[in-house]
Amino acid sequence: MEIEFEKQLVELKKKVGKLENGRKDKMTLVVFSGELDKLMAAMIIATGATAMDMEVKLFFTFWATAALRDPKKNVKGKNFMSKMFGFMLPKGAKKVKLSKMHMGGMGKAMLEGLMKKKGVKSLPELFQVAGELGVEINVCEMSMDLMGFKKEELIDYPKMNICGVGTFLADAEESKIQLFI
């Protein structure tokens, strides 16, 4: 009888421990879109969350990975398809387009003018701030491979890892907030 009771107690303690460690003050975003407006939303939410003392992890996948390319870095030895993808997709955060009203770059130029006037940080600046605040960027290995991007051509960023969906799921599971942008 007493042994049974003790067993139950041990199990209960385990369960409570799991609950306590389950969801931390952590936010995980899937950054999928490669457009300026959507990337800005993701980076503003990410940097804002650090002010709330949250640990922030961004999982960059698909079109968003192009925004992490450093225009100054060139990688040799790419095959034809990789070169084509590299050529067609924006080379870095400065080159991304708007999802609406881009108008061949005119809309973007107007928006950037307004942003400057109103003290809104540009996308490259937001990346820099995020890096300083300890926001972690995890880049989807499969997207990089599909588009023929190499690790060596990505921006210098303090906390950046190349990883798979497992990393995102493990982070998302213990996050209070998860968003797909």
Partner: protein, 83 residues
Amino acid sequence: MTTEELRNLKANQTVDARGTACPGPLLAAKKAVGDIESGEIMEILSSDEGTKHDIPKWCQKMEHEFLGIVEEDSYSRLFLKKA
């Protein structure tokens, strides 16, 4: 606190975040609050309308005591006491 009381309040730290947009004032506040001791007063100057809602919410989350807002001509002064 009333506006008059807030005006007479002597802040231990003043953060001038005027001219920056979201999330600038919030990040500036977060950085500066690390430089003061618990119980000290901090003042945030912001010309961003959203900050007036953000800082009270932020205080709630971080358990700082939000003291109030004083409106000036082209900006707001937000006061808080560090937890």
